[in-house]
C-alpha cells in the first residue's frame, strides 16, 4: 500500500512571490509610461536639447533663469494660479449647492443626474470647441441672450479681451470639474449620519447654520479631496486654453502647459519647454500634501 505523496507547496501558496508577479505589470506600466517620461522631462529641463537634433548638453539652471526673466512666462504662471484658484472656488460653491439640490427627491432626478455628469464624460477638446462658439466674437449666445434681456448695451469680445478670456477659461474649467466634485460632495453628504442632521434640526438650527456649522465641517475632508483633484486637473490641463484662445490674444492667456507646448514642441526648444512644464511640480506637491493632511486631520477629528 502506498501512502499519497505529501502535499507540496505550489506556486499559488507562495503569497510573497505571487504578489510580486501580479503587481509586476501594473508597476511596469507606471514606470514606463509615467516614471520614465517624468524623469526625462526633469532631465530635459537642465539641457539645451532641441526638437530638430539629437545633441544633448547640460546647461544647468540656465533654462530656469531664462524663463524667470521672461514676462510671457511670468504672465502664464500668474494665469495658471488665477485659473486654478478661480475655477476651484467656483467649483466648491457650485458643487455644494448642486449636491443640496440632488439630495432632495424630485421628479426626473435620475435624468437630471445623468445630464449633470455629461460635462465630465464629454472629451475636453469637443467641449472646448462648443465653448468657442458660445464665446464667439460675433455669434456668442451669451451676448445675444444678455442683449435680448436688455442687460447688455455694448458688446463683449470674450476671447479677444485678456481679462474676459481668462474669465472664459475659468468658466470652462469650472464647468468641466464641477460634475465630478458634485458627485464627490453628494457621496460625502450621504455619509453624514441622518441622526446628526436631525439632532441639528431639533436643536433649533436653521438651514444656513446646519450647512455651515454641521454639514460643511463634516464634509471638509471630502471637499479637500475634490479640490485636490480639481487643482491637479486644472493646473495640468492643456486642451481648454489651447482650443479656446491658443494663448492669445498676444500671449496674454497662456497657462504653463500651453506655454510649455508652444516653446518646447512648436518652438522646438525642448529644454525650455520642459523647464516650464515641471516648474509647477514642487508647488503642486506642497498643495497636495497640505490638502491630504487637512483631510486626514479632520477625519481624525482635530485630535490635538
Amino acid at each position: 500500500m502506498t501512502s499519497p505523496p505529501p502535499p507540496r507547496r505550489t506556486f499559488a501558496d507562495r503569497e510573497d512571490l505571487l504578489g510580486a508577479v501580479m503587481l509586476g505589470p501594473a508597476l511596469a506600466y507606471v514606470i514606463l509610461l509615467v516614471g520614465v517620461p517624468f524623469a526625462f522631462a526633469i532631465a530635459l529641463g537642465f539641457s539645451n536639447a532641441t526638437a530638430g537634433s539629437l545633441s544633448f548638453g547640460w546647461v544647468g539652471l540656465s533654462n530656469y533663469v531664462a524663463i524667470l526673466g521672461d514676462p510671457i512666462f511670468l504672465r502664464a504662471l500668474r494665469n495658471s494660479v488665477v485659473v486654478t484658484v478661480g475655477s476651484q472656488v467656483l467649483v466648491v460653491v457650485l458643487a455644494t449647492a448642486a449636491a443640496q439640490v440632488f439630495r432632495a427627491t424630485f421628479r426626473g432626478k435620475r435624468f437630471a443626474r445623468f445630464v449633470l455628469l455629461l460635462p465630465w464624460a464629454v472629451p475636453v477638446s469637443l467641449a472646448a470647441i462648443a465653448w468657442t462658439w458660445i464665446f464667439d466674437s460675433t455669434f456668442s449666445v451669451i451676448n445675444w441672450t444678455l442683449k435680448a434681456a436688455g442687460l447688455l448695451h455694448g458688446w463683449l469680445y470674450w476671447l479677444g479681451d485678456p481679462a474676459l478670456a481668462l474669465l472664459a477659461i475659468i468658466i470652462v474649467q469650472a464647468w468641466r470639474i464641477f460634475p465630478f466634485a458634485t458627485v464627490i460632495v453628494l457621496a460625502g453628504l450621504s455619509s453624514i449620519p441622518q441622526e446628526i442632521v436631525e439632532a441639528a434640526i431639533v436643536d433649533g438650527a436653521g438651514f444656513w447654520r446646519r450647512l455651515f456649522r454641521v454639514e460643511l465641517p463634516l464634509l471638509l475632508p471630502v471637499v479637500a479631496v475634490a479640490v485636490l483633484f480639481g487643482v491637479v486637473y486644472t493646473a495640468t490641463d492643456l486642451g481648454v486654453v489651447y482650443i479656446l484662445t491658443g494663448g492669445g490674444p498676444a500671449n496674454t492667456t497662456h497657462v504653463l502647459p500651453t506655454l510649455a507646448f508652444q516653446r518646447g514642441i512648436l518652438g522646438a526648444d525642448l529644454g525650455q519647454g520642459a523647464a516650464i512644464a515641471v516648474f509647477l511640480l514642487p508647488f503642486l506637491i506642497v498643495v497636495a500634501i497640505g490638502m491630504l493632511r487637512l483631510a486626514h486631520r479632520t477625519e481624525v477629528g482635530g485630535a490635538r
Binding site: 449620519p193 441622526e195 446628526i196 436631525e198 439632532a199 441639528a200 434640526i201 431639533v202 436643536d203 433649533g204 438650527a205 436653521g206 447654520r209 456649522r213 454641521v214 465641517p217 463634516l218 479632520t298 477629528g301 482635530g302 485630535a303
Partner: protein, 350 residues
C-alpha cells in the same frame, strides 16, 4: 412644563400604517415609556411628536399649542436624545452642549454658565474640551443628555438612549436617568424595545404593536393585568405561560395564563393557599444562578396549545431537586391565574 395630547394620530408610508390611530394623553411631568418591538410604530410616534415626521392625520398638542401642522421642531419646546447620541464629531463636548444655545442666539456669557451647569449635573465637566470620539459610550450618552437639557425643553424625547451601552453600564445609566427626571420634573417620552427598561423607568407604559396601542398602564398593571395575550407574552421574561386546560368549569375556548414565577412545586405552597395543580412533565432544567428555569409540558390537557412548552421559574431559595424526565406536581395560586379568549386573545374576567 407641559403635557402632551395625541388624538387619532396616523402615519402612513404608502400601504404601511406605521402609526394607526393612536390616542394618548401624557401628563405634565410624567415619565412615559413607549414599549414595542421593531416596526411597532413607537419611534415613528416619537418622531411625529418631535416634528421630524409629519402625521398623515390626527392632532398633537404640546401644552396648549397645537403642533401637528407646520410647527417646526425648534418651535415645539422639545429636546431629543437619539439612539446613536448624534453628537457633532467635529465639535468639542463644550461646543456640542452649546450648539442649541448658539442656535437660539443666547449671549456668550450665558451659554458658558449654562453649559457648565449642565455638565456639572452629569459630572462631565472635566471632559468639556474633549471630542466625542475620545469619550466612552456612557460619557457620550451623558453629553447627549446635557445637550438636550440646556434647551430647557417642555418635553424630553428619548429614542432608545441606553441601547448602545453594555449591560453593566445600562443599569447605572437607567438609575441616573430616572433620578435626573425626578429632579427636573420634565415630561419625558421614552422609546424602547427593552421591557426591563420600560418597567424600571416608566411611570406608565404604552405597549404598542403594529401601529396601535395595546395597553396603557403602570408597570404593575401591564405586568399583572395584561389586556390580551400579546401584552401577556410580550412583557415578562420568560413570557406568561398560556394553555388551554379544557377545564369544564371554564367557558369553552378559554386560555389560562400564569407567570413562570407563580408556577412552583406544590410542596412549597402553604396549606391555606387556594391552588390549581398541574401534572408537569419536566424536560430540562436550566440553572441560572439566581433562578432555575424548568422547561416541560403539562400533561392531561387536550387542546393544541397544550403541547406548548411551559416554563417554571424557581428562585434559588427553593432548593428542591427537580430530576429531568419525570413528572412532578406543580401548582399555581388561583389568584395568579389570568384567562383569555382563545380566538380574540382578549382578557376574560372569570
Amino acid at each position: 412644563m407641559a403635557g402632551i395630547e395625541i388624538r387619532s394620530l396616523r402615519k402612513h408610508f404608502g400601504d404601511l400604517h406605521a402609526v394607526d390611530g393612536v390616542d394618548l394623553s401624557i401628563r405634565d411631568g410624567e415619565f412615559l415609556v413607549l414599549l414595542g418591538s421593531s416596526g411597532s410604530g413607537k419611534t415613528t410616534l416619537l418622531r411625529m411628536i418631535a416634528g421630524l415626521e409629519r402625521p398623515t392625520s390626527g392632532e398633537i398638542h404640546i401644552g396648549d399649542q397645537r403642533v401637528d401642522g407646520d410647527v417646526p421642531p425648534r418651535a415645539r419646546g422639545i429636546a431629543m436624545v437619539f439612539q446613536s447620541y448624534a453628537l457633532y464629531p467635529h465639535r468639542t463636548v463644550f461646543q456640542n452642549i452649546a450648539f442649541p444655545l448658539e442656535a437660539s442666539r443666547t449671549p456668550r456669557k450665558q451659554i458658558e454658565e449654562k453649559v457648565r451647569w449642565a455638565a456639572d449635573m452629569f459630572s462631565i465637566t472635566r471632559y468639556l474640551d474633549r471630542y466625542p470620539r475620545q469619550l466612552s459610550g456612557g460619557e457620550r450618552q451623558r453629553v447627549a443628555l446635557c445637550r438636550a437639557l440646556v434647551r430647557d425643553p417642555k418635553v424630553f424625547l428619548l429614542d432608545e438612549p441606553l441601547a448602545n451601552l453594555d449591560a453593566k453600564l445600562r443599569n447605572t445609566a437607567r438609575d441616573d436617568l430616572k433620578r435626573f427626571q425626578r429632579q427636573i420634573q420634565t415630561t419625558t417620552v421614552y422609546v424602547t424595545h427593552d421591557q426591563v427598561e420600560a418597567m424600571g423607568l416608566g411611570d406608565r407604559i404604552v405597549v404598542m404593536e403594529r401601529g396601535k396601542v395595546r395597553q396603557i398602564g403602570t408597570p404593575q398593571e401591564v405586568y399583572e393585568d395584561p389586556v390580551d395575550t400579546f401584552v401577556a407574552t410580550f412583557v415578562g421574561q420568560p413570557p406568561m405561560n398560556l394553555l388551554d386546560t379544557g377545564d369544564p368549569s371554564l367557558p369553552p375556548r378559554t386560555l389560562t395564563g400564569f407567570r413562570p414565577e407563580h408556577f412552583l412545586p406544590k410542596s412549597v405552597f402553604g396549606a391555606a393557599e387556594d391552588l390549581r395543580t398541574f401534572r408537569f412533565a419536566v424536560r430540562r432544567v436550566e440553572y441560572l444562578g439566581s433562578d432555575r428555569y424548568v422547561y416541560g409540558s403539562v400533561a392531561g390537557s387536550g387542546a393544541p396549545a397544550a403541547d406548548a412548552t411551559i416554563i417554571a421559574k424557581l428562585p434559588a431559595t427553593i432548593a428542591l431537586a427537580i430530576p429531568e424526565g419525570e413528572t412532578h406536581e406543580f401548582a399555581v395560586p388561583r389568584r395568579a391565574l389570568r384567562y383569555f379568549d382563545l380566538d380574540t386573545g382578549l382578557r376574560r374576567k372569570t
